[in-house]
Symmetry: C2
Subunit: 460 residues, 2 copies
């Protein structure tokens, strides 16, 4: 064990004085992410490494001195997994923001973890390929997405982060650097460390390079909006759309309150007559894409017929501008909920077929405590995003616990894509099978014997 | 520690006398799988459990007494991961062969591990849905596929086992039973134990129930065969086919020798004129499917043009019977190689773009030791299946080591879908990063503190 001064000096040496902050010099942005709950907390140190070797050296130093380390991408997470410990080091990946390679033969990109989704989208555009994970926040970093296994609207067709990351370079808490997977789409050569690190919320190893899949951009897209008189009918329609073979890349439900809020916030008029809107309890938004324009318009027509048969009051094919704005407004639903005073935002995932029951029971639970529960979600994935309106912390905690318990009872999980972080730790600890938590903790120890990586996240 | 008699009695009690074998009563089939190398080995005990509880009880007993346990599905593996230890217990999942549920709303099936792919295919057919992992051996069990992360021809479109298993019930070596994932397509709620167990070759936990994704069966299919004068041109054509947007579900290359062997074995005439066949060094086989017949025939036409532009000598659209027979003959390539006297069969995976270099270097290495190397492979996945003809064990070992090293040097891995098992352990141990092997071993210990699960597989 060295003194505090030794640690600060060592960290400054590793990343360079200019890229090391401590004390008052640390700006507030490093005190957390976008999670709505809990107190923000500045770390003791902020280090901004430029290379994998620097990351590994920071980790080795932290392990030597037993100092907590939290990784930060863009800070757009919603579960406080990037909220540092008061006595710890925050590693900000902002300088590791290079797209190393766009490989059009193998259809992969190799990027540093601080690269944002919008940078990657821009740089891949010319190749006709693209990265298909759109968690609704294009300023999010690829490294952060790896941490939470981010999803988003297109997951119904393309899968979530874990389905689109083929390999990692990662620094271990003990200071070694490993490479897992690569530009290969399959492997059966030992344990899949790539998959284990994805979604581990910075508790096992820190990604210092990420190899992601790219898909051909299909060129022609359409957005279809269908109002329904009630939420159950929307939910019942979802499996039929999925099994129709039309293969939408977006399949979202939005409840009436949320639709009113997001369109109001975006100053967006969708051209829906007042009488239809007033009679609608929920909407389905379906995105289609095709390499050929004719096939797309045939699919749109088939989808319209299908939705009408499934009980849609009407079917609107949105024009380019409105379509884009609606999708953007939906992506900003979190911000709208926050602006409307939501006290928390959660993203329970359940088997697709159980969404109606899950929503009914969540509303029933909310009703008992006079809480508000409104939302939207990735209907094709069974991933329900709910804004929670309940100011009283105890009531809110009890409400959340009960809603998570219902989700798990239906065969689901506490979070589909936001992660547990610090924000949901108490519920995870209470509701998850203790045998699994113990096992996960032993896996954690296999990577991180001194427990330096993100203490307070996933484990109490 | 109890005596040997105690253990036998305990095992017989757990599964019932009728489902417990020892000594001479153990038939030879339980001595291994289809791996071509190494000595087959009968276990001391064979136990055939009927439930997860029985599996867990066997494991608890084995942990208590420190006895090795090897799991067996259908015994169709190619890497000897189902070859038991002489002093150990073989758990055969043959009695756990029930398809528990076909859920057409959530598009999943829940099956016991001993269910074969052909049983699952048959039972899902009526629903219009199907399980899309076809590793070329329909007698393979789902549980065995989980163990090796099996792939097969359709992986180019649908992914491998790990992309199609959503959840597990699994028995831990310590005797507990856990559930991971479920009928949900995403989760960010702790470490992904499902993904960690998949591909672990029976060394971490034993799956006692598997929840798999089902996809709509698209109804219309076509198989296109294109001969090329040389292998490099075939390989160079592959990325263009992948990025064309035509999205084939099969994309295989077959070298001329292998094509001659498999068509001869299958008594299959493809109607290719002698002069074309004689001038062809390699073939591309492309499978297309579509929910609509017109789109399929448009895609077949577009593919034909594309392949001609990419250097195919000719393009044949195979009729139903020939198409089916060719795909079946390709699936039986392993058996053909075995019948032809192959001394080993390997399945290196490399980045798709490096296949020509990999094959050229593999042939060069083979040439130096006068060994034969012929094959075929999942071209879209960069997964090269090679039959190795070299009788001398030392020469063969050196040849394999060098071929695996080239694959890894090109950014690939020793096995794409067959696994390491016992057959490739020496190469894995020598060539893999020791930091990763150490880490994997610590993960192994987190699951299996007494090291009872499949010793000799993955770790030396």
């Amino acid at each position: 064990m060295g003194s505090e001064g030794d640690v600060a000096q060592k960290l400054a040496e590793i990343v360079g004085e200019r890229h090391f902050l401590t004390g008052e010099a640390i700006p507030d942005e490093y005190a957390g992410d976008e999670a709505l709950v809990g107190e923000r907390q500045k770390p003791r140190y902020v280090a901004k490494p430029a290379t994998a070797d620097e990351v590994a050296a920071i980790l080795a130093t932290a392990t030597e001195h037993g100092i907590p380390v939290t990784a930060r991408g863009s800070g757009s997470g919603l579960s406080a997994a990037a909220r540092p410990s008061a006595e710890g080091i925050l590693i900000s990946f902002e300088r590791m923001n290079t797209v190393i390679e766009i490989d059009t033969t193998n259809h992969v990109a190799v990027v540093q973890p601080g690269v944002t989704l919008s940078e990657l989208d821009e740089l891949t555009a010319e190749s006709g390929l693209g990265y298909t994970v759109y968690p609704g926040e294009m300023s999010a970093s690829v490294g952060g997405n790896v941490g939470t296994n981010a999803g988003g609207m297109r997951a119904v067709k393309y899968g979530v982060t874990r389905n689109n990351v083929l390999g990692l370079q990662a620094a271990l808490p003990t200071g070694e650097i490993i490479r897992t997977g690569g530009k290969i789409v399959k492997t059966s050569t030992g344990y899949d460390l790539t998959q284990l690190i994805i979604g581990s919320e910075g508790t096992l190893a820190l990604a210092t390079e990420v190899t992601v899949k790219l898909h051909p951009r299909l060129g022609n897209g359409a957005t279809v909006l269908a109002p329904f008189t009630d939420l159950d009918t929307v939910m019942a329609a979802v499996p039929s759309v999925v099994s129709s073979g039309i293969a939408p890349h977006i399949l979202e439900y939005i409840d009436a309150l949320t639709m009113a809020a997001i369109t109001y916030t975006a100053s967006l008029s969708l051209g829906i007559p007042d009488e239809v809107r007033e009679a609608s309890q929920a909407y389905l938004v379906v995105g289609l894409e095709n390499k050929e324009a004719q096939r797309l318009s045939d699919d749109v027509a088939a989808l319209g017929e299908l939705l009408t048969g499934l009980g849609a009051t009407d079917v609107y094919v949105l024009e380019g501008g409105s379509a884009r704005k609606l999708i953007e407004a939906r992506e900003k639903a979190f911000w709208t909920a926050k602006a409307a005073g939501a006290d928390d935002v959660i993203d329970v995932v359940v088997p697709r077929s159980t969404m109606p029951e899950f929503l009914a029971r969540a509303r029933e639970i909310a009703g008992k405590t006079e809480s508000g529960v409104v939302g939207c979600g990735h209907a094709g994935d069974g991933n329900v995003h709910l804004g929670i309106f309940q100011k009283d912390p105890e009531k809110r905690s009890s409400l959340l616990r009960d809603i998570f318990a219902v989700g798990m009872e239906l065969g689901g999980a506490i979070s589909g894509e936001h992660g547990i972080g610090r924000a949901k730790l108490e519920y995870f600890t209470e509701l998850e099978d203790p045998v699994k938590i113990e096992l996960m903790h032993r896996i954690k120890q296999a990577f991180d014997p001194k427990g330096i990586l993100n203490p307070g996240v996933l484990f109490g």
